[in-house]
Symmetry: C2
Subunit: 204 residues, 2 copies
Amino acid sequence: MAKRSLPRHVGFIPDGNRRWAASRGLSKEQGYDFGIDPGLVLFEICRSLGIPEISIYGFTQDNTKRPVPQREAFRSACVSYAMEVARRDAALMIVGDETSDLFPPELRDFRTRRGNGMKVNLLVNYDWEWDLAGLREGSIRSHAVSRLDMIVRWGGGRRLSGFLPVQSVYADFYVVDEYWPDFKPEHFDQALRWFREQDQTLGG
Amino acid sequence: MAKRSLPRHVGFIPDGNRRWAASRGLSKEQGYDFGIDPGLVLFEICRSLGIPEISIYGFTQDNTKRPVPQREAFRSACVSYAMEVARRDAALMIVGDETSDLFPPELRDFRTRRGNGMKVNLLVNYDWEWDLAGLREGSIRSHAVSRLDMIVRWGGGRRLSGFLPVQSVYADFYVVDEYWPDFKPEHFDQALRWFREQDQTLGG
């Protein structure tokens, strides 16, 4: 059983924006804006480490059933984040159902990966059933997303919540209890340190 | 966000048999036999609590690439466990590829659920790709297995290792560091206590 060094593909579940906002006396939807900067810091950290690919849970089709102010807030936060990442020369791909009105039109061009540099997959209006339903026509809809080595989730939840089920099958799962807007680089340092200590068995 | 009481369906990943054996100076394959009794104790606990359904990771198609003595040992342990659970009046279903030579013929009749009582799904010669490939003909091959509320894994690993990816999408994941043959009822007590404290969001 080989010990690993750096993960080749990390998934991020930036959860806890609404609880963070509520804990500060803000309305829930105000939490999302505070998630953009941490995401850019994390992007730069991954890039400087030489991690080839990252996937980020933006929002799901289920999430869009939330009250409209929240929906507008996380939609807008995802668009801002995506545009900034594209501007910083990442190879951005948006993964999600672009046939729905809830898919931001600004992001349509990125349903196919654009750009060079670190691969960034942002899940926008994603749904695991939508993803797997692609198998009926040959392959999952997220087929251009590689297998995940590690998933890091903020906000204390110990579940995948429908995040890329196929790519997650052998991923090591690390949970940070702090809410996502309270992101600190140390969280990811600790996750990487922990990852290096795990055995890689891949079911063998 | 409602607090839950008892999970309706729990998945178990009884990992660590080989490491347990090695730690006692036994050969790796000797570990599996020591996993049968803990599995029966856990079965009785779940039944007495009134949990309607449990799923247990027996072995995968990947596992069968291990050395023959190991393969024979976990295969035989799974057959013994299944037969005993059936004798104890569970509603047993075996989930796995029965078209392969590595599927134990004794278990073939249980590919369709048999019996009444608590539902027990035992994964035998299972493979997540085999499972999902069923979608090409309409539905996943494990379609008779319901969604999981919680997964408990022994042996310290924080990954699903291909365990029922569709049913796991919203499952809370609890890890016990002890090896599976060192199972104690307290492990599951703690898991259930922890489960009750989690919010149930189901992506809403």
